[in-house]
């Protein structure tokens, strides 16, 4: 019971941290863009490298936000088979298991590509053009985001397998983070 409680606490804490990163990095990105507009139009000057900072910050909310999307299960899907299997619950559960398994496998493959990419990025040690900030700060969220997504697709797969076998779904005791 304690292990389950600890797992649930970690699950909620992780989601909250991710959500916080999304809000802060989105606000930062748009904040830099807004500052640039203000400076250009009212003070007739330009802040050095604001667009670079805005773009670097945007990568954090792009990828961490996508992992929150996997946590929320809100990624865009076509779900055509589910539309046709709506009246057969067992068939729907089977389709969900197959879909989750494929999602997990494909996300794991993408994560392995990201790992190769980030490994090289560390070796190359590129820096941004104006502010000379290491580019890996913007590239690293690709790996983190995809690892988190793989984790959430794994949880989703386990959840769907449990549902298929008639067991209690994970969602029932996961709750939300609020």
């Amino acid at each position: 019971m304690t292990a389950k409680k600890t797992a649930l606490a970690i699950w909620k804490w992780l989601a909250k941290v991710q959500q916080y990163i999304v809000v802060v990095s989105l606000a930062t990105s748009l904040g830099f863009v807004f500052a640039e507009v203000l400076l250009r139009n009212f003070i007739k000057t330009s802040l050095f490298g604001t667009s670079e900072l805005a773009i670097m910050s945007s990568w954090w909310f792009y990828l961490i936000g996508a992992s929150v999307g996997a946590w929320e299960r809100s990624h865009v899907k076509a779900d055509i088979l589910l539309v046709f299997a709506k009246r057969i619950p067992h068939r729907m559960a089977q389709i969900r298991v197959v879909s989750s398994l494929l999602s997990l496998s494909l996300c794991a493959v993408a994560t392995s590509w990201a790992f190769i990419y980030i490994d090289r990025a560390f070796d190359l040690g590129r820096v941004s053009f104006y502010l000379r900030i290491p580019m890996v700060y913007a590239q690293f969220p690709i790996l983190i985001g995809l690892i988190l997504m793989s984790f959430y697709f794994l949880v989703q797969l386990v959840d769907h397998v449990l549902q298929l076998t008639g067991k209690r779904p994970i969602e029932a005791y996961m709750g939300d983070t609020n």
Partner: protein, 436 residues
């Protein structure tokens, strides 16, 4: 060519099975990557370079503007203004829906933002005036397409970005079709409401009182009505690029929400930024993998092969346009407008370029087609979203929605496709250097 067919089959199979769309693209990338032996680490780097752009931040900013409109009560004020304008005529509330979706389009730029804003406000109001819930939900779903036709438009930002075109000119290309759609929907709504005895209309008032009422609504909604002026005025006045215009609109919306309408709280703002941030991230993840897939397609010369295949069927420009239309409607039925735009723009452009179609005309063709596809079952993402908001099953809204699709959206698709002047008139008038 066989590798192309297998790749498309993999993509469609993953879509049909309900795998998240970005991962469907990963599946297609994996197959092409394996068959060509390309270094995937390098492809991930190519995706990173492609997306490191300030233009793409416009997606986040416009999605956030849409969310803020709901959270701050701006959408509500816009509806009240439209209601004062046309609410007292027969079928007035239906007309309010159409006009409000067009105004929403001039601020937020997505179908889903228009459905979410209009659905929550309008469906209960229309039900009170006797409109069947299925009708109002179907109307809102179809009219929400205006959200992506009236500039700014999220799919057009992505279209311009993918094909390296002027985003501002892409915005202008869909204005003509959007306005025609408004007129046709207003007429169809009037004709259909005439057959609904349950619908009541507020009593008529004198012309003078009407002007007063519109004036009052315009005064109350003036802060909201300034928003489209900020967005469009700054883009076409040359003051700001779309990303900056949308960011200014976000800040404006937050200030109006806190200090003028006072409906916004810090908690609500945090929730809105989070929810819109995640929505953006989900879209951008698709863009990321589509950019990689696009590179692989280009490497394998797939768009050229598709173009050759279509030209082999017929070299007639009009037949090719018909094939493109059919293809786009099918894609629109399978996926949402943003993913559809991202996938098909680079694939179909060589085909249309080979028959002398302007890229800005293609932008309008794509916008109208995918808009129609988005409300066409089996997938119909926007129709289902409206159904979820209106709490109406598909069977109750499909009949009215089908009338709007067949007699409204489809004719606009055909007019847009076969009359280039409709989409090119405004870009040529306002941006003659870019669209000759």
């Amino acid at each position: 060519m066989s590798a192309v067919i297998i790749d498309v089959i993999i993509l469609l199979a993953l879509l049909v099975l309900g795998v998240p769309i970005p991962l469907c693209f990963v599946g297609a990338i994996m197959f092409l990557g394996l068959s060509t032996g390309i270094d995937m680490g390098q492809m991930m780097a190519a995706g990173f370079s492609s997306l490191s752009s300030i233009t793409l931040l416009a997606v986040a900013a416009f999605i956030l503007v849409g969310g803020l409109m709901n959270a701050t009560g701006i959408a509500d004020r816009l509806v009240k203004f439209a209601e004062a304008l046309v609410g007292r005529i027969k079928g007035g509330l239906g007309a309010v829906c159409v006009v409000s979706c067009a105004i929403m389009g001039a601020i937020a730029g997505t179908c889903s933002a228009a459905v979410a804003a209009m659905g929550t406000v309008m469906i209960p109001e229309m039900e009170r005036q006797g409109y069947p819930r299925g009708y109002s939900t179907g109307l809102i779903a179809c009219a929400s397409v205006l959200g992506q036709l009236i500039p700014p438009s999220l799919p057009m930002i992505l279209f311009g970005y993918v094909l390296q075109l002027s985003v501002a000119a892409c915005f202008l290309s869909t204005v003509g079709p959007g306005l025609i759609l408004v007129v046709i929907y207003l007429i169809l709504n009037r004709l259909m409401v005439n057959r609904m005895p349950s619908v009541t209309t507020p009593p008529r008032i004198s012309g003078r009182e009407q002007v007063k009422e519109v004036g009052r609504a315009a005064y109350r909604g003036s802060w909201a009505l300034v928003m489209p002026v900020i967005v469009l005025g700054s883009i076409y006045g040359g003051i700001a690029i779309p990303t900056e215009a949308a960011t200014v609109a976000c800040v404006y919306g937050i200030l109006v929400g806190f200090f003028v309408y006072k409906g916004l709280t810090l908690r609500k703002l945090y929730g809105t930024v989070l929810s819109m941030g995640v929505t953006t991230a989900v879209v951008i993840l698709m863009v990321y993998f589509v950019m990689i897939l696009g590179r692989l397609y280009a490497y394998e010369q797939i768009p050229q092969k598709i173009a050759a295949g279509m030209v082999a069927v017929s070299e007639n420009k009009y037949v090719i346009l018909a094939m493109v239309n059919l293809f786009l409607i099918i894609i629109g039925m399978l996926m949402d407008d943003t993913s559809g735009t991202l996938l098909t723009a680079p694939l179909l452009w060589p085909v249309l370029e080979s028959v002398g179609i302007s890229p800005y005309h293609f932008a309008a063709i794509m916008g109208t087609n995918l808009g129609l596809g988005n409300v066409t079952p089996p997938c119909a993402p926007i129709l289902y979203l409206a159904g979820r908001i209106g709490n109406v099953p598909l069977e109750k809204m499909i009949k009215p929605a089908a009338v709007f699709m067949v007699f409204g959206s489809l004719p606009v698709v055909l007019i847009t496709t076969y009359w280039p002047g409709l989409s090119l008139f405004l870009p040529r008038l306002i941006m003659p250097d870019i669209v000759p």
